[in-house]
């Protein structure tokens, strides 16, 4: 026998176990509550099926809007992220430039897209515009961060050689920086499109356009068979989106 007892770790485990038990009891999560919940779930599932596609026009309109929100927000987010991430790259820019650019991206990233969507619904009114703006902001936050990190990992030797030819700054970016990050940018952008596709189905719940609004309304009217049709359609759209981003990556050999 010999290994010394790690008392801090033991105490940490004990505290964690106590907190877990407290949280369970506080939220009244008893086995009886769980079984009652299963019963609700069973009834809900029974009402979901069979799905009802009779209002397919409404469904299609919502899906189309979601898709448009996702694509427009991704493209706008991408276009804004490119210059902002360049300004934020610490290996190419002085600190007084990178700081504000980084702050902007942190602010964009600090809220969930739905919270940003609520703000934009209040600012510009109900509809797709609020959704597009919300997801553009969210895209800037994430793409900006990923792009910045990619730029900061490039080989500066290649940049130095282009700089030594007397090339102007934007040409140094074109020949020394862009080729080194291009394929990673394509990967990140297609990932963001994928993520925006998911989020665009959700911003509708707070009135920012897309299929989410239709889904929320159907829930409130207890049209569970229509809810099921919407959910299945969303799954279909996400799968199509997955295939699309895969194709995009392949085309650009990213």
């Amino acid at each position: 026998m010999g290994a010394p007892v790690n008392w801090p770790a033991r105490i940490a485990w004990l505290v964690f176990a106590l907190y877990f038990a407290y949280a369970l009891s506080h939220l009244q999560l008893t086995p009886a509550r769980f079984i009652a919940g299963l019963d609700f779930g069973y009834k809900f599932l029974a009402k979901l099926f069979p799905p009802d596609f009779q209002r397919w026009e409404l469904l299609l309109k919502g899906l189309k809007e979601s898709l448009e929100i996702a694509i427009l927000a991704s493209v706008l987010g991408l276009i804004i992220s490119l210059p902002v991430s360049l300004l934020a790259a610490r290996n190419l820019m002085p600190a007084w430039v990178t700081w504000p650019a980084r702050m902007l991206m942190v602010v964009c990233r600090s809220f969930h897209p739905v919270i940003i969507a609520i703000l934009f619904v209040k600012a510009v009114g109900f509809g797709a515009l609020a959704g597009i703006l919300a997801l553009t902001v969210a895209s800037l936050g994430f793409l900006g961060k990923l792009f910045t990190e990619a730029i900061e990992e490039i080989s500066l030797k290649q940049v130095e050689a282009v700089r030594a030819t007397g090339a102007p700054f934007m040409s140094v970016i074109a020949f020394g920086v862009a080729p080194q990050v291009f394929s990673r940018f394509i990967g990140f952008a297609s990932y963001e499109l994928d993520s925006n596709l998911r989020n665009s189905t959700m911003v509708g719940i707070v009135g920012a356009g897309g299929i989410g609004g239709t889904l929320f309304a159907a829930f409130q009217r207890f049209d569970y068979d229509f809810v099921c049709a919407i959910i299945l359609s969303i799954i279909g759209m996400i799968i199509v989106g997955e295939v699309l981003t895969h194709v995009v990556k392949k085309v650009f050999r990213a």
Partner: protein, 265 residues
């Protein structure tokens, strides 16, 4: 600003570079580089050879001193004037510094970036004359079959040939080379040095070459400058570089035994 360059391609006066205040790497270098021939700079690692060569095109900012090139003091140029000066100074690097993901052709054409607008650079729209010249240069360095290969598909020797073609593409008035053969095997090193010597002679471009291989320096240079402790301790013809000077430059002497056999070739 001193204008009397006396036919020299480059005049360096009292050049000091200190990365850390009070600890200069270059301690008052003064050199005149003639308008032709290869000047080899030798010296132990960490003695500031790379710093010296990078101070000339200001990839490293000099602390003080003057560098007169084409009648102007490079040290005091603003960004715009510096870019104009850099166009006339070609540079070859130890690790080639090619843009790996671009083709050989694009890498060579990047030598013209100082003359092409950024907009055209993004669209890869180079003047036909430049493209023809790039083809001709690639033929000269023996890379015609690889024109459209990606730079990262080439061997070390081939990459350095691209590096030389890129530097010459600038139609430079001065060629800088920072340890151009250090990443290459002995045979390729000789090939690369031969190419540099022949091309710089043909085009009348003076070259300054950092090199730590003394035998290569002796064989290819028209003049050797020995640096030690950030100062010039030898400056003369290759024949004048005696063992006594080598001892002074590198310190010690046991390494001198039989150095003529185990150096390259």
């Amino acid at each position: 600003m001193a204008q009397n360059t006396d036919g020299a391609a480059l005049v360096i006066r009292s050049l000091v570079k200190a990365y850390v205040r009070g600890k200069p790497v270059l301690n008052g270098i003064t050199l005149d580089i003639a308008s032709d021939g290869i000047t080899a700079i030798i010296g132990p690692s960490g003695t500031g050879k790379s710093t010296l060569i990078r101070c000339i095109n200001r990839l490293v900012e000099p602390t003080s001193g003057e560098i007169i090139f084409a009648g102007r003091n490079l040290v005091t140029l603003n960004r715009r004037e510096l870019r104009a000066a850099r166009r006339q100074i070609g540079m070859v690097f130890q690790e080639y510094n090619l843009v790996e993901r671009l083709t050989v052709m694009e890498n060579v054409l990047s030598g013209r970036l100082g003359y092409v607008s950024p907009f055209k650079a993004w669209l890869r729209r180079f003047p036909p004359a430049d493209i023809n010249e790039a083809y001709a240069l690639l033929e000269t360095v023996g890379l015609t079959p690889h024109v459209h290969a990606r730079a990262d598909a080439l061997s070390g020797g081939q990459r350095q040939r691209v590096g030389i073609a890129r530097a010459l593409m600038q139609r430079p008035k001065l060629l800088l080379a920072d340890e151009p053969t250090s990443s290459l095997d002995p045979k390729t090193s000789v090939e690369i040095m031969t190419l540099m010597r022949d091309l710089s002679a043909q085009r009348g471009i003076p070259a300054i070459v950092n090199i730590h291989n003394v035998a290569l320096a002796r064989r290819f240079a028209t003049r050797i400058v020995g640096l030690s402790g950030g100062a010039v301790v030898f400056d003369g013809a290759p024949d004048a570089l005696s063992d006594a000077y080598l001892k002074q430059i590198y310190g010690g002497e046991s390494w001198l035994d039989g150095h003529s056999e185990n150096d390259s070739d």
